[in-house]
Symmetry: C2
Subunit: 391 residues, 2 copies
């Protein structure tokens, strides 16, 4: 198995959780994992970080399992400055994890989240929560992580050409994020994914005056098996409302970005009915983007919970369930074949149960299945193949 130092350098979208150290088998170790996120997309041809980075000489420290969640995962030197963006972002994702898990447990009425928490000797850590086989939810994961890592100097040089001549050393970075996938049981209740992340570099170790880099990324998207237009409109309206508070260009831009990103190319279908998605966002005021990410994360519960509340007890038959299972198969295809966080995590030897907690409990593949034209199943497929404007 390769070592894992690059794990935390992956840009994530689905539920990309990677362990902080290398090991040969998930069942042979006590490894706990961390969210990995926040570095820019490798595939953006115009982005200076577009090449996959390797830094096998810079391993991340091994984690320590802890029994109680701490007040903060930040290093003490960071923690003293409670007004820093990293500190406020961490507080935000911890609060959102609490509020989302609380809302989901109340909605489920039976299942409880199982929690795993860990820290690392030099700072950072994470909290993973999974609710499986509840009354309403088949599988729900809500995870946060804070990572102190080091990126190879080539990455920083590529981003900041002016510094390249000074041959800087490895560049320390900070990353924090929340990531979640929620799969309900009822085929009329949609799956939800959301992920918000913040990334910051320090100055290179031997270039103390060099400028810091920072980015925000994330999104919230809905994956129903059946279309209830009022549900999809409600969901997109909440996304638009969050966007419009900051910039009228955000919703149309991030809605399209979402449709483009969650594209199952080999089927020419989107995974679901979209929402918003953005990455590498740093060309706005940093405070404004922190508020924007906070607004988006706080919009998850009002955007999603009322929909599940409305559909969780809708009667269904075997045909509905089979169609939901086929769409779950598509979810698996997207996550295993295309999702950058997942594929990167698998390649770099991440803690597999954490990376793949985004997969549904059950999925189905029928040979050459074609919904009857005009049927409810056909309408969903059509909307996945031809993204619509919902509001």
């Amino acid at each position: 198995m390769p070592s894992l130092p690059t794990a935390a350098l992956s840009s994530s979208s689905s539920l990309p959780l990677f362990p902080p150290s290398s090991y040969s088998s998930p069942r042979k170790t006590q490894s706990r994992f961390c969210l990995s996120f926040a570095l820019p997309r490798f595939t953006n041809p115009t982005h200076p970080f577009r090449r996959p980075m390797t830094c096998s000489s810079i391993p991340i420290e091994k984690e320590t399992v802890i029994s109680d969640r701490p007040y903060s995962f930040l290093r003490e030197t960071d923690g003293l400055d409670d007004e820093s963006v990293r500190s406020r972002f961490q507080r935000m994702i911890m609060d959102v994890q609490d509020s989302v898990c609380g809302a989901l447990e109340a909605l489920d009425g039976a299942g409880n989240f199982q929690e795993d928490a860990w820290t690392r000797p030099s700072g950072g850590g994470g909290i993973s929560r999974v609710l499986q086989d509840g009354r309403v939810f088949e599988k729900a994961g809500v995870n946060i992580s804070v990572v102190y890592g080091v990126m190879p100097p080539e990455a920083y040089r590529a981003a900041k050409a002016a510094v390249t001549d000074q041959n800087p050393g490895p560049v320390p970075f900070f990353a924090a994020g929340i990531s979640s996938v929620l799969h309900p049981k009822n085929p009329f209740a949609p799956t939800l994914h959301f992920n918000y992340r913040y990334f910051e570099t320090d100055a290179p170790k031997d270039s103390p005056g060099a400028p810091r880099q920072w980015w925000f990324g994330g999104g919230t998207d809905l994956t129903p098996s059946y279309i209830f237009e009022e549900d999809v409109r409600h969901f997109h309206s909440i996304q638009k409302r969050a966007c419009d508070k900051f910039d009228p260009s955000f919703y149309p831009r991030f809605k399209k970005w979402c449709d483009d990103y969650f594209h199952i190319k080999h089927r020419d279908e989107r995974r679901g009915l979209g929402g918003i998605f953005f990455d590498d966002l740093n060309d706005y005021d940093q405070e404004m983007l922190l508020s924007f990410a906070t607004e988006c994360a706080n919009s998850v519960v009002p955007a999603y919970v009322p929909i599940v509340e409305k559909r969780k007890d809708t009667p269904f038959n075997g045909r509905h369930k089979a169609w939901q299972q086929l769409r779950r198969g598509r979810y698996v295809e997207f996550n295993l074949v295309y999702d950058r966080g997942t594929t990167f995590g698998l390649k770099t030897g991440g803690r597999i149960e954490s990376i793949l907690v985004s997969l549904p409990l059950t999925a189905r593949w029928e040979y050459d299945h074609k919904p009857e034209e005009g049927s409810e199943e056909w309408k969903l497929l059509d909307a996945c193949m031809n993204p619509k404007e919902w509001i």
Copy 2:
């Protein structure tokens, strides 16, 4: 979507079926598909074809759906020479498709194979057969294909350094193969995969005297959810018997190759309990290898059918079924993440239903599932993590 000329250049292992022409959506066309196989593995660092080849300027012809299977898919000029290796290999895979499907229908007792057949204007074609939701089998696919294609001159040059100076043109090739994945319903009846293929180049178009290349590839492997040692020993014994008729080194060498190939790296598990696997085989007498591939393909029924016959009606409970479904999840992971034929097919825009017919009807992913030490489930997992010598 990219055009598909390279589809037929993929080395396959699972059920790699690709359409012969490019299209943007599986549901928007009448495309039928072809098996794709036979070129050497790209990842073998010592192999001259190790780099993925692109030949987007050399498209494969569009196929024509036909109602009845023809006697031969070979070009007339080939067909006149019934003693050629390509002709005899085609006859062999047609016969094996018949005999395997016949044996499976008899075993199932209820399901029938649905057949799709097609040809291409300048020769080549294929027959796909799928049995879904039978009495014994959840999903069973048995497919053959014959391809006349053209590989980029770089590939041929790389293989034959002596020819490089002459700057040869595109290199015509012939490929034929049979590929199959069989998923039974009963959790005590194992999944089977087999695939045998033959590949031949013509001389480059402007270097008529240059030597031909040829290869054989293939294998048969068993993926149970529960171990019945007598079943696994029976299966491996039949593989060894087929191998030993030709070379005593074959079974140990191809058994290990199989264990190495079907490795789910992110779990450090094999997909199943192995069998035999070989690729790029040309360093033996060609007639001997044709006989060997024939012997292996003819060994599928005696190696597999008695096992399913014995286990198809074994009583099982929900725990057995759930474990089978978890192992089916592993099958999905291997095929979508690692299998060269599948991943190459997805990237090059193959007919998705054909590529993914290898996926099980249903699969399952539980968070952090760990079988109890010493249990029957644990024993299977242990054997997948630590490949054993069964005979």
